[in-house]
């Protein structure tokens, strides 16, 4: 290979490696403070104080929790298959992290004479990549539940997996309607289209609603947290887990919540676009780097609103029964998504035909 080409490659690799490192650390940090926020929101909803002992306002509580989990005894059941038992939480964490690769976190920074995009990979199948990784996420639950060699864990794992598969269908169908409008699967381009036109939530309100409900189900959050229904299944698929292996499962849920909030903001709420402001004009007056920082902030505010919504629902709505869950998925959401898809296709075709039949 040409020496110059080799040198270019290295800078690129280092840039991406640093970016991956930053995004993973940020996701972990956010997931940590999501646990804190969850308890604070729960306390607020139930008229309590919530964690307030460790540090000012209890801000060090996540650190204390993490420390506690690390200190706990590591138990691997005798009759479990040892390798798979350890692999389960690892897979759950890995797939939760991998989805962040295609989300555009902001436009580009201009550093050291280079434009640094805040997106790890702008592949032209962005959304499908997320679906692919999410569909692999089922294995974290299934392997963990099966390897524990415990009937309750196995039942919970199968419940969880069938729930995730069922809701993936409706989610995919609701995305198809959005893709008919965008004409692209790249998340970067979808954000660009929204910066110039409307947010897609205005064009696809039903699609967004279906996507939101399915995102709740995919994250195993209440009202869809049947795989950890403690009054029916003791504790769920992670019953045999202790120490940080349990922590990984719990943590993966919070990372999933963070990433799905980011995906929803990106697909339907303009991503890093600053609302009611012409970003290009703002960038011309204050420069590219401050603009990119502001856009990053804007995306994070949108994500924070979604995360709050996740928690709000968790502490307000009770859990579904299993048959209700399946009825909602197969008999309500999928037909609705199909109708939405056909109607969108009809309107898109009509518009392409200049509103003539």
């Amino acid at each position: 290979m040409h020496p110059l080409l080799l040198a270019m490659d290295w800078v690129f690799l280092i840039e991406k490696a640093v970016l991956i490192l930053i995004i993973i650390s940020v996701s972990l940090l956010i997931a940590m403070y999501e646990t804190y926020a969850e308890r604070k929101v729960a306390a607020f909803m139930q008229d309590r104080r919530g964690p307030n002992r460790a540090g000012p306002f209890g801000l060090l509580q996540p650190l204390a929790d993490g420390m506690k989990l690390f200190m706990k005894e590591e138990i691997i059941p005798n009759s479990s298959s040892r390798f798979l038992f350890v692999l389960g939480p690892g897979l759950a964490m890995l797939t939760a992290m991998m989805t962040s690769a295609v989300v555009p976190w902001s436009s580009h920074f201009h550093l050291f004479g280079r434009d640094v995009d805040l997106q790890i990979a702008d592949v032209n199948i962005g959304i499908l990549y997320i679906f692919g990784v999410v569909s692999m996420g089922v294995y974290g639950i299934m392997i963990g539940g099966w390897a524990s060699n415990n009937k309750f864990s196995l039942l919970a794992a199968i419940r969880g997996a069938s729930q995730i598969i069922s809701y993936e269908l409706a989610m995919g169908l609701s995305i198809i309607a959005l893709l008919m409008i965008t004409g692209t699967l790249s998340l970067g381009q979808i954000v660009h289209q929204q910066m110039e036109g409307h947010y897609y939530v205005l064009l696809q309100p039903l699609g967004f609603l279906i996507f939101l409900i399915c995102a709740f189900a995919e994250c195993n959050r209440t009202p869809f947290d049947l795989s950890e229904a403690e009054n029916e299944l003791n504790f769920g698929y992670h019953q045999e887990y202790s120490s940080m292996k349990l922590g990984f499962y719990l943590f993966a849920e919070y990372i999933n919540m963070f990433i799905s909030s980011a995906v929803m903001s990106t697909l339907y709420f303009g991503g890093y676009d600053i609302p009611f402001v012409n970003d290009a004009a703002l960038g011309a007056s204050i420069g590219q780097n401050p603009l990119a920082a502001l856009q990053f902030l804007s995306l994070f505010i949108k994500i924070a609103i979604f995360i709050f919504f996740f928690m709000w629902v968790r502490w307000t709505i009770p859990r579904f029964r299993y048959d209700q869950l399946m009825n909602l998925g197969w008999k309500v959401l999928i037909p609705l998504a199909l109708i939405n898809m056909v109607a969108t296709g009809f309107i898109v075709l009509l518009k392409a035909n200049h509103w003539h039949f």
Partner: protein
């Protein structure tokens, strides 16, 4: 050796190793997990061939959906090496003969194929990109595509009918 070649060898070895382990694993659940590894490796090959759409659909459909159903069945059937009944000797011989004939057919087909001139389009092909694939499917192959979708629909209806029968 460029990064593409390193990846190619890595994925090939992973795929072949996984495929061998699918066959020789005692525990059916382990077999399914190795099969998933094979699918992931093959998706990696698709990406090397610049067929990103095929790669991700392979992951979603085969590794993500079909293998989960396999896992469901195996986990619920509780298949263990001890409880598995001893197979009939004639069945084993029949299996060897069937496998051997398949190997023969494959080797014959590979010998016939013109391998020297057909080099994989590493990083160059574009048929697997979603835009080109969509155009091909809906322009050149629209009739077979629609017929196969009707076939899938009928299969789904059939499953529902069988499932409803008490």
């Amino acid at each position: 050796m460029g990064i593409t070649q390193v990846l190619f060898w890595f994925l090939s070895i992973l795929a072949i190793l996984g495929a061998i382990l699918v066959v020789i694993s005692k525990n059916p659940v382990h077999s399914v997990l190795w099969l998933i590894v094979v699918f992931v490796a093959i998706s990696g090959h698709y990406i090397l061939l610049d067929a990103q759409f095929l790669a991700i659909v392979n992951l979603i459909v085969y590794a993500g959906a079909i293998m989960v159903l396999f896992l469901f069945v195996f986990m619920l059937m509780n298949l263990n090496a001890e409880t598995e009944p001893q197979k009939n000797r004639w069945l084993k011989i029949a299996g060897v003969v069937a496998g051997g004939s398949l190997l023969l057919v494959l080797v014959a087909a590979l010998k016939q194929a013109d391998l020297k001139t057909k080099i994989a389009e590493m990083n160059r092909g574009d048929i697997g990109l979603i835009h080109n694939l969509g155009l091909t499917l809906f322009q050149d192959y629209v009739v077979p595509f629609e017929i196969s979708s009707v076939l899938f629909l009928s299969a789904m209806v059939g499953v529902v009918v069988i499932g409803k029968k008490e």
